[in-house]
Each structure stands twice: as C-alpha cells, then as structure tokens.
C-alpha cells in the first residue's frame, strides 16, 4: 500500500517535471484572451483604470488592454522605493519612474503584474498607489500565480496557477512578443527572488 502511494507520488513528481517549461506567444495570448474577458465581466458598468507594475506587469497590462473592446486608461507603477527589502537588496541604479496619467482618488484601480509569489511587490505597489490618492477599490490581475505567499494577498483574475518548487521561477520576456519560461534559481539569485 505504502509502495503504491510512493509510486503514485513519484509519478506525480515526474508529471510535474514534465509540465511546460515555457509558454510561447500563442499560449500566452490564449491566457490573455481569457483574462480580458474576465476583466470585462468583472468591471461591467464601471470604468476602472489599468495600472501595470514595471516591467513585466506593464507588458501584461498593455497586452490585456489591447484585447479589451474599450481600452482603459493605462498607467505604470514602479514600487522600487516602497519595497521592504531595501536594507538587504539595495536599490537598482535605474528605476523607471511611475507614470499615472490620471487621478487615483475615488477610482477603481486594476493592478496588473506578471507573476504573483510572496505578495510583497503588490503590498509595495498598493502603498505607492495611496501616495497618489485614495482609490475606491484595488483589484489584482496576474498572468501567473506561483504560490509561496507571505502576505494575505490574492489575485482576483489569474491566467494560470502553478505549483512551483522553491528553486524555480517563471520569467516573462517581452514586450513583444511575450513569452515565458521556467527558470532554475542559482544560489546567488535566492535573495532577489525571495520577494
């Protein structure tokens, strides 16, 4: 019985390892089509503002917006100054400035990111948003959710949920074409990908 269970677990592990290591443009476009429909349904009758988190989230937000029947006002947010790991990681030399070409006060904001993991980037992004004004609501849309959450944050709309082991990450390349692949962490990358 135990042997059968172990064998089953082994097969699951093999299946996991054989899961797609990359997503080509067509596969991601399929995800984006589904996500665009979900966004349109969720915000029917409202006029939300789309805010992509630099840099992958901004690419996803732009691609998503292109698929919506009525494109939404689009902004980008770079929460680098709001991260909680500045003491240990320092600051990247070039931080693309946030650009929100609209008032945030009283608006329904749709935050868009490429990969959701711990939730710390989303926390930082929300903190920055509140420095621009008080939104009526914030929703979260992500292309991939890879788990390992450290904060009580969840996506409202998600392209694909993955159960990646701690040594793997999804990396999105773009902006055109958008492709994604699973990347193995090397030891020195552990710090950068913890958040």
């Amino acid at each position: 019985m135990l042997g059968s269970f172990a064998m089953r677990a082994w097969h699951l592990w093999i299946a996991f390892l054989e899961s797609p290591l990359s997503w080509d443009e067509q596969q991601l476009q399929t995800h984006l089509d589904t996500m665009a429909v979900a966004v349109a349904e969720r915000f029917a009758g409202q006029a939300p503002l789309l805010v992509g988190i630099e840099s992958g989230g901004a690419w996803v937000a732009e691609a998503l917006n292109a698929k919506l029947e009525t494109p939404l006002p689009l902004g980008t947010l770079n929460p680098a100054f709001y991260r909680d790991d500045f003491d240990t990681r320092g600051l990247k030399a070039t931080v693309t400035p946030s650009k929100l070409p609209f008032e945030v006060d009283g608006q329904h904001i749709v935050l868009v990111d490429d990969v959701l993991m711990t939730g710390r980037t989303i926390r930082a992004a929300m903190n920055e948003l509140f420095d621009f004004g008080r939104p009526a609501s914030i929703s979260l849309v992500v292309l991939f959710d890879i788990g390992h959450r450290e904060l009580p944050i969840r996506a409202d709309i998600c392209g694909e949920t993955l159960a990646l082991p701690p040594h793997q990450r999804v990396e999105l390349r773009g902006p055109s074409p958008l492709i994604a692949e699973i990347r193995e962490l090397v030891a020195e990358d552990n710090r950068e990908t913890r958040s």
């Binding site: 680098a80 320092g90 710090r191 990908t193």
Partner: protein
C-alpha cells in the same frame, strides 16, 4: 596648497564595490559615478508628486553635522533626507559642543549613541569627513558636504547630472570652470568627475593668483584669458567669488575681476551657441556673473538646485544600502 589625501577607494567602497561613504569623486570608478547619476534620475520625479516622499529611509536617522555654516547645502540635504522619509537632526556644531571643549570624537560617540545612521558632514578642514568615516561604527554612513579646499562631491555630481541632462553625455564635451579655482572644493571635485566620466577637455580659467599650482596635475588645461578659455566650450561653470578674497590682496577689486573674468553675454559669445551656463550658488551678480547671463536662456542655475535634491537622495540611498554588503538585486521574477 591643498592637502594630499590617501586614495579614497578603501574608505568609500565596500569589498564588493558598493558605495559605503561618499567623501570625494576622486578615485571612484566611472561605473559608480554613472550609477549615482542613474539613481538620481529615478528620484527626480518624486519632487513633482503631490506627496513628495518615498519610504526608502523610513526609520533611519540622518544627522546634518555642520561645523561650517551653510544654509543652502544643509537645506537641500535636509530636504533630500526628508523626501526619503528619514528623521533629520540638524546640528550646528560650530555653535555648540566643540565650542564648549568637547572633542570631535566625543561628539561623534554621543551622536552614535543616539543611533544615527548617517552623518552629513561639512567642515572647514580638508579631510575631516575622512577622519569621521574612519572612526564611525560600521553601520553609519558618512557623506561629505564640503571640506576645506578639498572636495564637495555631491555638488560636483549634481553638476554632472545637469550636464548629462542637457548634453546627453560627456563624450566630446569641453567644459570650462571659471573663477576662484584655488579656494574651490567644488572645482576639484568637478575636475575629477568630468575626467572620470569621459569629458574631452576640462579647462580652468582664472587669474594666476586664484589658480592652484597643481592645476594641470588635476587633469585640466589652464587659461588666464577668458577669450581663449571659453572658445568653443559646451559648458561654462562659474564659481562664486568669495568677497573676503578681495581683502587678502589676491585680487585688485570686484570691478576689475568682473571686467576680466565676469561672465556677460559678450564673453559668452566665445562659447558654443548651445553652451549652457552653470553656477553652484549663491551668485554674486556683477562680480562673477552678469544678470543678463544668470537670468538668460542658457542659464540652468535653478535646475541645478532641483537636480541637487535628487542627486543627494541617490547618494543617501546608495550609502545607506552600502552598509550591508549584499549585492544589489536584479528584477524579481516572482512577487
């Protein structure tokens, strides 16, 4: 004669090449100076927001330790620290502890006991910030806000930022620094930074009495004539003439200085048509610069002030994070 200081790299940089203190532009690698300019570019937009603050240094304490008074420099450092959400303590040391007989080291130890994370130091003696940087505990950063005749690195870097902003880079640039070079710590820091960043030629222009004997050893070409010195330059940096120099027989009179070395439209004509005019402030109108130039279309003097806050925010962020030896991260691929 400006004192010769030991190479700064060992004091200023961590083992992995990050900025631990910022004391001089001398001996710093080009990549690091460019990192300061790039980081400053990230901070410029913060000043344009309705809430001009980011939480990067929240919980940190910055002590402005000014042994020599300076309203302008201290204000911009204070504003930079506040925009990074740090707590700021301004100490006019010249009027307090040391005048009561306390030694500099005792003052330092007391401030460290108050859990300061950074000292911004201005001192009338060259090398004082180096001394302090060597004495502070490992988790405290020191930034030089001007020491004697030696260095004023943040002023030089805000000037570099301004030049890069208006000229796009440093390759092929001819830059003239004009006035009291001898007493100018800004000029020394500017020459080092311009040479490191790849300017084609740095010119020092002034009367012989206000030029250091080692001017050419700094890596600059020396001129005593404005017409020759300004010919075809891309950038003109005017220095403030300290009026007390008039009393020490280094100059005949303000009028004479202005006639020979003051920048007016007539002399600016020698420079390139698109040359920009800079000045670290405060300006003496009619002494080193005419109002027609200071307020003219080629003047970028007020923009220097704006950029100065972003550059100081960049240096503060980089030195505070340099207190930890961890490498700066790349893009997070899961967040």
């Amino acid at each position: 004669m400006t004192p010769t200081l030991a190479p700064s790299s060992r004091v200023q940089l961590t083992e992995d090449g990050k900025l631990r203190h910022f004391l001089t532009t001398e001996h710093l690698p080009r990549s690091l100076l460019e990192d300061i300019l790039d980081t400053a570019a990230s901070f410029v937009d913060v000043g344009g927001r309705s809430i001009k603050k980011v939480p990067l240094l929240r919980g940190k304490t910055v002590v402005n330790l000014f042994f020599e008074s300076s309203t302008r420099t201290r204000s911009t450092f204070e504003l930079a620290a506040q925009r990074l959400s740090a707590d700021v303590l301004n100490l006019d040391i010249a009027k307090s502890a040391t005048s009561k007989g306390e030694t500099l080291l005792d003052t330092l130890r007391n401030l460290e006991a108050m859990a300061a994370d950074m000292f911004v130091v201005r001192h009338q003696d060259s090398g004082a910030p180096f001394f302090i940087a060597n004495e502070v505990t490992p988790n405290v950063a020191v930034i030089n806000a001007g020491d004697g005749r030696h260095a004023h690195p943040t002023q030089a870097m805000l000037d570099m930022y301004t030049i890069r902003h208006y000229k796009g880079g440093f390759e092929g640039l001819k830059v003239a620094i004009v006035g009291d070079i001898l007493h100018s710590r800004v000029a020394r820091s500017q020459v080092h930074a311009l040479n490191t960043l790849g300017a084609e030629e740095v010119r020092l222009i002034g009367p012989k009495t206000l030029l250091p004997v080692d001017a050419e050893a700094l890596g600059a070409t020396v001129f005593t004539d404005m017409a020759h010195g300004l010919k075809d330059v891309d950038v003109v940096i005017m220095l403030r003439l300290q009026k007390e120099r008039m009393d020490s027989a280094l100059l005949p009179s303000e009028g004479e200085f202005f006639r020979l070395y003051g920048l007016n439209n007539e002399k600016l004509h020698y420079a390139k048509e698109d040359a920009i005019v800079m000045h670290p402030g405060p300006i003496n109108r009619g002494v080193e610069i005419a109002s027609e130039v200071a307020d003219g279309p080629r003047s970028v003097i007020l923009n220097q002030v704006t950029f100065g806050i972003a550059v100081r925010m960049a240096v503060m962020s980089m030195t505070i994070s340099g207190q930890d030896s961890a490498p700066a991260g790349g893009a997070a691929h899961g967040s």
